[in-house]
Subunit: 143 residues, 2 copies
């Protein structure tokens, strides 16, 4: 097997349609470097024997308390340089909830909050790009 | 950074539309274990600092001689157990050529050949599943 210096993470874009006009997504405030105190998608390192979608659901639950049962893969985001710690490839997912579920930051997250998709804070890593991609996929799925 | 035992590969499904009825794809015959002598998508291990799509194009060139300039990501295929050597996640791409380009097996490939998509040989790893997914994406892009 090739000896690579590449780590794998999963991230999840959870949508909540608050009204016909307003989409919200769930973000967490990072407790640790890099991007400490910035907002990011809930996510983290995949475990060695964990299916991709299980990693996404586990990290979501650990960081926000939110448990969802179905997530759908978007694609991999893996540009070299997207993570200042070293090469990291994120497999990104999306999911949906149908009410504004109570969430609470825990584990690697100081806080967890629903944000209006059209009014997002500064985002860690390439998460802005992941969210843009997820928004297109969500809208095409729902159209 | 997490210490993971997960390797990253890229694979590429190259389509050639031979007629309005017939799609072909490019496969390679594996020179090495696992799945030695079986047919598979051109692909292999990503280099540490290599963008994902560059990995897909490099492996395609190395194994078949075919150089293509644009590849499009399908998604990651990463079920534990898909590779008998250990956990491997493949980021899969698709591309297209507009004539039945001459190809030749080299590097890790003993042979390279165009196959009718509706008449494929036994395939290594989960490449049958990757091809099924690619076929849907290709057909929806072209419809």
């Amino acid at each position: 097997m090739a000896k690579q210096k590449i780590a794998i993470t999963t991230d999840c874009v959870v949508f909540y349609k608050a009204s016909s006009e307003k989409l919200k997504i769930l973000l967490v405030e990072r407790k640790n470097e890099p991007f400490k105190n910035d907002w990011a998608l809930p996510g983290g390192f995949l475990e060695d024997e964990e299916p991709l979608e299980e990693g996404a659901k586990r990290e979501l639950k650990e960081e926000t308390g939110l448990q969802i049962f179905e997530v759908y893969q978007l694609r991999a985001f893996g540009n070299p340089g997207r993570d200042p710690r070293g090469r990291t490839i994120s497999i990104a997912f999306w999911g949906e909830v149908f009410s504004e579920e109570k969430v609470e930051g825990s584990d690697d997250a100081k806080d967890a909050k629903w944000f209006d998709l059209e009014n997002l804070p500064e985002l860690a890593f390439d998460h802005k790009q992941i969210i843009e991609f997820a928004k297109k996929v969500y809208k095409s799925e729902k159209s």
